[in-house]
């Protein structure tokens, strides 16, 4: 479980996150939604320690992550997997080397053992016969799958995904969403996904947090969204006339 208490974060004179508190449960896909620039990515990067919170607490189970000394934080990071918006695969490495990278850096496994784990991870994300290809030779969806395979290579307890289906066609986006959801349940991982894709919210959102202008504005399940009377949430979720009609039908 990840618990955050009263997180504040600002850059120069711009306050990006205002007093955010939340709990993210293991085995569930926790979604953070919000418009572009609302602070979702900053929150995610603060949670994983890429940004330092100005104040507040970030708990990973019983460990106060943001107060850990450098070495302990480094050890903790081995239990964290992250999928970036652009996959962030290493250009200089093949698919196999990308997935093998955390294993090479943090385990004493033999090449055969690492190879076995890489095969398992790539199979788990339904990517076969791509081991020797470089990221530039892969489609966006395949890159995301390699990103997921790399993120789960060390059996993480916590998985963070920053807009995992941005730039993907609807079918591939749903495939990626489902993959994240399945992996979360299968390995009982605490997963936090940033998205502004409403399909994702409806498909895999066990718990949804809406961020508006750096504030936690609303929290609930994906079903609660349909019944919510929160104006800002409704403006964001039901922005198109089609989604408005969908909501009207669901409420009937």
């Amino acid at each position: 479980m990840i618990r955050i208490n009263h997180i504040n974060k600002s850059f120069a004179n711009t306050v990006v996150l205002h007093d955010i508190s939340a709990e993210f449960e293991p085995g569930k896909t926790n979604l953070t939604i919000g418009a572009s620039g609302s602070g979702k990515t900053v929150l995610l990067k603060t949670l994983v320690g890429l940004h330092e919170a100005d104040s507040g607490e970030i708990w990973y189970d019983d460990t106060l992550f943001n107060r850990l000394p450098f070495d302990q934080k480094k050890n903790m990071r081995k239990r964290i997997g992250m999928l970036f918006q652009g996959a962030a695969l290493f250009d200089f490495a093949t698919v196999e080397e990308n997935v093998m990278f955390p294993l090479t850096m943090f385990t004493d496994q033999s090449y055969a053992e690492k190879r076995e784990r890489v095969d398992f991870c790539l199979k788990r994300v339904n990517l076969i016969n791509a081991e020797k290809r470089y990221p530039a030779e892969l489609s966006g969806g395949m890159q995301k799958r390699v990103g997921i395979a790399r993120a789960i290579a060390l059996n993480p307890s916590y998985l963070f995904c920053d807009e995992p289906n941005s730039g993907l066609d609807p079918n591939t986006a749903i495939l990626i969403d489902n993959l994240i959801h399945e992996i979360t349940q299968e390995y009982h991982i605490t997963t936090i996904v940033n998205t502004h894709d409403m399909n994702s919210v409806m498909e895999i959102g066990d718990k949804v947090m809406f961020i508006h202008q750096g504030h936690k504005w609303w929290e609930g399940s994906s079903n609660d969204i349909l019944r919510s009377d929160n104006q800002e949430l409704n403006d964001f979720v039901f922005a198109s006339s089609m989604t408005k009609q969908f909501r009207a039908l669901s409420n009937k």
């Binding site: 990067k45 994983v48 890429l50 990071r77 964290i80 652009g86 962030a88 250009d91 990278f101 850096m105």
Partner: protein, 251 residues
């Protein structure tokens, strides 16, 4: 007006030393470090051999020609053509000029490579895994070029003298024995050590400064280009300053 500039320069220096502290720590995995070291030696050092050799052979030839044209006085022996070629190559060209050329070649390569990794979040991905990205990416580059490039200086020196020999043989401006006598005249082996030491210092400057600008790149591809340009300009200026200081200290 000067104060803000001075302040930002100080900030830049501070950031540079903070980065170097991260760079010069014990690598997470020594076998991975040795492997990276070999890769970087090939990428930054071996791949520069051809360009250094081509430039040096022509410059050696040109120095010999120009020295010959300018030594018209009958009181100055012709063997001074060889002497001047040797001294120019060993004292300045093979170290400082080659370093300036390498600043353009490998400096831009390093800054754009690390800058691209920064803006595509590859460096963030390493940090999240718990890898010291500065150490993993920059240390092998610094060590590879600081150790290998002094041999490039040596190569440049030898090839430059060969260029001089070639032009002397082809044009007959002086005899070959005069050229070889000049090469051996008042030879101080200490100059080679001095020049190799200078090259090691310049190589450290090139790789660390270029890595610094790449590591702190932000924005998009245009910004990576800008970082790369700034890196080369900074490398060239620092090389010239370091050259002045080392010459005063070592000669």
């Amino acid at each position: 007006m000067c104060f803000p500039m001075f302040k930002s320069l100080l900030e830049l220096c501070g950031q540079y030393f903070i980065l170097m502290r991260k760079v010069f720590s014990r690598p997470d995995r020594m076998p991975v470090f040795w492997k990276q070291l070999l890769v970087e030696t090939e990428k930054l050092g071996m791949s520069s051999i051809a360009i250094v050799a081509i430039i040096s052979i022509f410059i050696g030839a040109v120095i010999a020609l120009q020295s010959s044209f300018n030594l018209e006085s009958p009181f100055i022996p012709k063997m001074y053509v060889g002497y001047m070629t040797r001294e120019t190559m060993v004292l300045e060209f093979s170290s400082t000029m080659v370093a300036l050329i390498l600043a353009g070649k490998i400096g831009s390569n390093i800054a754009s490579e690390i800058g691209s990794m920064r803006i595509t979040e590859q460096i963030d991905a390493m940090e999240i895994m718990g890898v010291n990205s500065a150490n993993y990416l920059i240390l092998p580059k610094i060590i590879a070029s600081t150790v290998f490039n002094p041999f490039l200086m040596l190569l440049s020196f030898i090839v430059g003298l060969f260029g001089g020999w070639l032009i002397v043989s082809l044009t007959g401006i002086i005899t070959l024995s005069q050229y070889f006598d000049g090469l051996q005249l008042d030879f101080k082996p200490h100059y080679i050590t001095y020049s190799m030491a200078k090259m090691a210092a310049f190589s450290f400057v090139i790789t660390s400064v270029a890595s610094f600008f790449g590591y702190h790149a932000y924005g998009g591809s245009l910004d990576v280009g800008r970082s790369s340009t700034r890196a080369i300009v900074a490398c060239c200026v620092i090389i010239l300053i370091v050259n002045l200081i080392l010459t005063q200290l070592l000669l």
